[in-house]
Subunit: 154 residues, 2 copies
């Protein structure tokens, strides 16, 4: 089955672009990126902090069944404009690559559909290529599928 | 006269590296980047906000003699480790280029000397090259000269 989320990573660069069209109105797509309870569901993580505003911070943490932390990430919102744009830093903790800068653009396509464009800039080309060695496109496509399901069932 | 601050911008990339060795102990070099009153002096700007901590925000504003705002910039601290490292976003407002991600590394050389390494990652190669068309190296070298003078006279 074709993946709906596309990742475009040009060779030799230190950035990449992720695009996805959702069968969701713009407002719901944005809400899924700004509401702790909804993020928790589609990302499958605990949202420890989410200050949804310019210069706010955020922090996620995921534990396994035994209570061990298996994923931890944090960052700050450089910009936070509802239904339009989020600019944030993103760092996966205890990972072999540094923090990255992410530009998320939210666009209305029709009343019932919308588009997310994520431009991710890494510290280096090596960092980006490390990330791409993981099942990155698979993972983000799966998360976006879940996002759409979760929000439609709200 | 040779400039002490060096800018290394590799062709075709979207980042650059700025290095400078100071005749200042490490602690004073860091203080010059973390203390509003000192930043105001060497950068010649008003520091409207400087929350010197992880996930804190900052904001600078410069007015001319008539009270007109001639420079405005803001960002967030992704990381803030005294005498070691600052990771921050930096955006010059009303400029033709987007926010950038900056990694500042502070190192002790001897008891009286220290080194600053700034790795700046831009949104695109075009953004970086726009910045480099301004008297960028000249400006940052002058600011760093002033930093050293200001801090030595504290």
């Amino acid at each position: 089955m074709e993946r709906k989320t596309k990742v475009n990573a040009e060779a030799g660069k230190q950035d990449l672009v992720i695009t996805r069209e959702f069968d969701l109105p713009l407002e719901l797509l944005f809400k899924a990126h700004a509401t702790p309870e909804i993020i928790a569901q589609w990302m499958g993580t605990q949202v420890l902090k989410l200050e949804g505003k310019k210069h706010g911070g955020w922090q996620f943490e995921t534990k396994d069944g035994q209570g061990n932390v298996v994923f931890k990430a944090n960052g700050v919102f450089h910009e936070f404009i509802p239904n339009q744009q989020i600019i944030r830093t993103f760092e996966m903790e205890n990972a072999p690559f540094g923090p990255q800068l992410e530009f998320l653009k939210f666009e209305k396509l029709t009343d019932d559909t919308s588009k997310l464009t994520m431009h991710v800039v890494y510290r280096s080309g090596e960092d980006r290529d490390q990330v791409l060695k993981m099942p990155f496109e698979y993972g983000i496509n799966m998360a976006h599928d879940r996002l759409q399901e979760v929000v439609r069932n709200l």
